[in-house]
Symmetry: C2
Subunit: 157 residues, 2 copies
Amino acid sequence: MTGTDRSPPAAHPHLQASGIGSQTGFMLRAAQAAVWADLTAALAPFGLRPAHYAALSIVRASPGCRQQEIGDALGMQRPNLVTLVEGLRSRGLLRAARNPADRRSYALRLTADGTRLLAAADRAHDAHRARLATALAPLDEAVLGAALRRLTALAPD
Amino acid sequence: MTGTDRSPPAAHPHLQASGIGSQTGFMLRAAQAAVWADLTAALAPFGLRPAHYAALSIVRASPGCRQQEIGDALGMQRPNLVTLVEGLRSRGLLRAARNPADRRSYALRLTADGTRLLAAADRAHDAHRARLATALAPLDEAVLGAALRRLTALAPD
DNA sequence: TATTGTTATACTCTATAACTATA
DNA sequence: TATAGTTATAGAGTATAACAATA
């Protein structure tokens, strides 16, 4: 998504007149930008961006996983993982040990610092989720989730 | 969103284990990417990208509008509109006449070619919308739209 | 002084191709 | 030959600062 903290399109007369503002694709884009900005702001105090937080969460859930498994999970290309993982490694949040069984790959694990920082970030993330749940009510989060998954399935491959 | 045709994160074991894949922010991101890719593919035969299509739709709905009004409607910065409008103008889809009342701004209108191309693109866009509606059912498009608007309202400013 | 459009520029995210070292 | 990680690079999209013309 998008990169920085851009504000989403506000309800604007011209947007309304054109009908663009009430079309699912554009509404989805605006909502995604707003939610991403909220998540980005929630994680910023920890020096983490959404991709960092997701990567640490994946390593915590799957200790010893390869770098590429993060990419598969997040839909990122391999070259773009290098900077992401290196950033976390250089901050001492992650360690990458050569896998003895297959010395091409690394086995990724959280360090103690990484575990602590991620636990603190989890609390900010929980607050973010609560804001989303409040904004969504009365539509249930799970109902929205199911709909989003069906939309995601539209994509080829 | 993203730029090109990237495929969204597939349901992946590590994604599932981490819980990231069932969190609204990340689901929203994946769904948005898939929907955007579908829209991009639908508009590609016309040489239009989503921003082009949205800009033309706004000009059609608001003939004589200023360039900046497109930016306000779409949440784009002024400098980034120059390339967008110039591209449409150089293809003869849009014309920009100096506004006699305020000679700082241009009055944008569709050309006959622009009107025709946009009408053709509308049909591809309708097909895209139908695919979304099918994927969403039984959740109503309007119910999702209302939820997305509430999420969009999370953003500051 | 403020606004419209413009130029120049930079940063982020994402994409492909080609390399290395291992298998 | 195939895979994991890496390097270099390019393309979108978006951001800010500063300028000219006009109000």
